[in-house]
């Protein structure tokens, strides 16, 4: 079978963070981890081409996945492989989007990443097989991936036995007993010694380790980002007031503050009266401009990002975070102030 492999700029050997803005390109045959993957796959399957893109370029714009998919198809792909992305957020996001786009277009595809990769939710119903957390686990990860590719090539669906992760959908259903009764039964079961009984897995929450302080704040480019749903008055782009599916960017170059009546918050989760009387209190443009004039920061980035946190899923919020980080890195920004509500 003809395989096309997607890797990022780093695994293609084109450079690290300095090359993360590289646009999409195609390399002939297998490259980087693709070489060992090809060995493990044997003679039945050929990696005919490797599609490559810089992480910032690919992660900051969801439409790039269609472009990457088009390149893979142009190489005659019969099956698409993406990754392994291990725990890397931007790379994982792109791999997940790419296999989702491929599957939606009828091209079999599989991605490889760690189960905690923040991009994993974007794969939707497309298969993802587990990778280790870091690249040191390359060989066992590729062994698992090669076995999954060989199975997928036969047309068989991938299951948990193949190391499939991320797609164990939790499906809502009506049951006989109301939740209050089930809670009492659960308490009684736990008191009787069944300490593992639960309807939802407990624990496993991310602990976000703060990044190191900015080296020289006076030289840093700083961006303002918010989940407080700050938008131009009248909400021309129709940002949701709850359960966001997207985020928006607005220019603030030449503005010293956000005037009431020109900007507003459309957030549904808190009383917006005070925020709308002075939108600077939600997105502190006035104070940040002062810091810029005083030289306390290098420069304020020329646009801000906005979405609404109210009722937004963890999976979606993680994706926004990865996209924001990619877009800000691409713009040469070193620090961001995230105002939350």
């Amino acid at each position: 079978m003809r395989l096309v492999h997607y890797v990022n700029q780093f695994y293609a050997g084109l450079g690290g963070e300095d090359a993360a803005d590289l646009g999409p390109r195609v390399l002939a045959g297998a490259t980087g981890p693709g070489r060992l993957l090809q060995q493990l796959l044997g003679a039945d399957h050929q990696i005919v081409a490797t599609v490559v893109c810089g992480d910032n370029y690919a992660a900051s714009d969801p439409s790039v996945s269609a472009e990457l998919l088009g390149m893979a198809r142009a190489e005659g792909a019969e099956l698409l492989i993406a990754g392994p992305a291990f725990g890397s957020g931007r790379y994982g996001l792109v791999c997940a989007r790419l296999v989702a786009a491929a599957q939606a277009a009828g091209l079999p595809a599989v991605a490889s990443m760690h189960p905690d990769n923040p991009g994993i939710g974007e794969a939707g119903a497309a298969p993802v097989v587990a990778a280790g957390a870091v690249a040191r686990q390359m060989r066992p990860t590729l062994e698992r991936l090669a076995a999954a590719v060989a199975k997928l090539a036969t047309g068989a669906p991938l299951t948990a036995a193949d190391g499939r992760v991320g797609a164990a959908a939790r499906i809502g259903r009506l049951v006989e007993d109301r939740a209050a009764k089930r809670a009492v039964e659960l308490v009684v079961a736990r008191l009787a010694g069944d300490r593992d009984a639960t309807e939802v897995p407990v624990g496993g929450f991310d602990v976000v380790v703060p990044a190191a302080p900015v080296d020289k704040a006076a030289a840093a480019a700083v961006a303002l980002v918010t989940e407080g749903a700050v938008v131009p008055f009248g909400n021309p782009d129709r940002l949701e007031s709850a359960r966001a599916t997207r985020w928006l960017r607005y220019p603030i170059e030449g503005l010293d503050g956000l005037a009431s009546g020109t900007w507003e918050s459309v957030a549904g989760g808190f009383a917006t009266t005070h925020a709308n009387a002075d939108p600077n209190r939600l997105l502190p443009l006035d104070a940040t401009r002062e810091l810029e004039r005083e030289g306390a920061i290098g420069r304020l980035h020329g646009e801000f990002f906005s979405t609404v946190g109210n009722g937004t899923t963890v999976a979606t919020a993680k994706r926004f975070g990865v996209e924001w980080a990619a877009a800000l890195r691409k713009a040469g920004v070193q620090a961001a102030i995230l105002t939350a509500t």
Binding site: R144, A183, V184, G268, A271
Partner: protein, 427 residues
């Protein structure tokens, strides 16, 4: 704490008439009486409507829902609002079971929700199964909306009492004896002492819950008499996330208290109720969690079921409380709605406990397709999805009032399928 007798009068049908009355399961609502009970300088027009189970009616932008209850001529329900707190507790409380009064309309911070009286959403809201007196209203011109909101609440409580008053002289369908919780130190014959902690939202105007007529914001957790909750000591005034609200009706019929009573003496002893605020600051959440765990220990609980109201903030309160209880050696179970995205593949909890156990009340993001209806009450347009109120619509469960009831009133849950892979072998 107090014993209470619930004197139940079932309502099987409802209509408007010249005067309020109750006869053989039929409730007549006097229109003029409704108008006089809602008379208030902060309110303009008040339009009572009716909606019964099975009708092709959608109630949009619902606010609070109240079960009609009365203690007879001397009054006594809704202490802090309609009755003094310092009165004789317990005794008989008449209940119009199967009826509800509710308000519907625009108010700030009222996240738009709906109740369908028929169709697929009808099995998700507790208020699709009640005969509802729906109050549409206009705030008086120039009246502050907070005053309009307070006037609507007073009107709803008065109407709930007036309707139940009509049944006080009728022979009841059932009389239910509700014993007080067992005091600490009472011999249990080896059964565990299990109580419930109910967190109440305390986020200011339009997002507050009232205990004896006042917000619980700034309070410490307190042990509370469940007989007083039956009599309306807890009144809702918060209008966030429709599916994650606890309307007054569900406090009056607190599902976890009911289920604990149902098992009392069989495999547990009902140990009591603790009410808690949901502070908006981290330090407050920590104080309240620590104090709640201490209070449950002091009250001799072996285990507690913990409930919340709302999402985000409330999820943190719930998780911290469960962790604090378990750290103190109690067994804890929390009720959470999941937020795993429309396809159910995202992480189910935004913030949750690190130990203990969780019951799922369903997935906030799961999509429902609802057919068009003949009539809508409460408004003409669902702005949040930009649709006519009567139209066929696709909505998340999040919009169904009480659809993910944090007090455990609903029968939704979520199950993983296929089973998740064993991650140990990946490391």
């Amino acid at each position: 704490m107090t014993a209470l007798r619930r004197v139940v009068h079932e309502v099987h049908s409802v209509e408007f008439g010249p005067a309020t009355g109750y006869h053989e399961h039929h409730l007549t609502v006097g229109r003029e009486q409704v108008e006089s009970l809602f008379a208030d300088p902060a309110l303009g027009a008040v339009r009572p409507r009716l909606a019964s189970p099975g009708e092709s009616i959608r109630i949009i932008t619902p606010l609070d829902v109240v079960e009609p209850r009365s203690k007879g001529r001397g009054g006594g329900v809704f202490p802090g609002f309609l009755a003094p707190v310092n009165r004789k507790r317990g005794l008989d409380t008449h209940v119009l079971r199967g009826a509800a009064v509710l308000a519907a309309g625009y108010l700030p911070r009222n996240q738009e929700g709906l109740i369908d009286m028929s169709g697929p959403a009808a099995q998700l809201s507790p208020f699709s199964r009640t005969h509802n007196v729906v109050i549409e209203f206009d705030p008086a011109e120039g009246a502050p909306l907070l005053e309009a909101e307070q006037a609507v609440r007073r009107g709803l409580l008065r109407l709930a009492v007036a309707l139940a008053d009509a049944a006080v002289g009728s022979a009841p369908d059932a009389v239910e004896e509700l014993a007080a919780p067992h005091r600490p130190g009472t011999p249990t014959g080896g059964l565990p002492r299990v109580g419930v902690i109910t967190n109440l939202q305390t986020q200011g105007a339009f997002k507050d819950v009232f205990v004896y007529g006042a917000s619980m914001a700034g309070s410490l957790p307190t042990l509370f008499d469940p007989a007083e909750i039956e009599d309306g000591a807890v009144v809702a005034g918060q209008y966030g996330h429709p599916a994650l609200r606890n309307p007054t009706y569900l406090h009056q019929n607190h599902p976890v208290i009911a289920e604990l009573r149902a098992r009392d003496g069989h495999d547990l002893h009902f140990a009591g109720v603790v009410l808690c605020p949901e502070p908006v600051e981290q330090a407050g959440k920590e104080h309240v969690s620590a104090h709640a765990a201490w209070l449950c220990q002091a009250a001799g609980f072996d285990a507690a079921i913990v409930t919340k109201e709302g999402a985000g903030n409330a999820d943190n309160d719930l998780g911290m409380k469960v962790d604090a209880l378990e750290a103190a050696g109690l067994t804890a179970v929390a009720l959470y709605a999941e937020m795993s995205g429309p396809d159910g593949t995202g992480p189910p909890l935004v913030a949750g406990p690190r130990r203990g156990a969780v019951v799922s009340t369903g997935n906030y993001d799961q999509r429902l397709t609802l057919p068009a209806v003949e009539r809508a009450l409460g408004g003409t347009r669902l702005r949040i999805i930009d649709a006519e109120a009567t139209a066929a619509i696709e909505v998340p469960v999040a919009m169904i009032l009480g659809g993910l009831s944090p007090l455990g009133a609903g029968r939704l849950t979520c199950r993983a399928e296929p089973p998740a892979v064993d991650l140990e072998e990946v490391a």
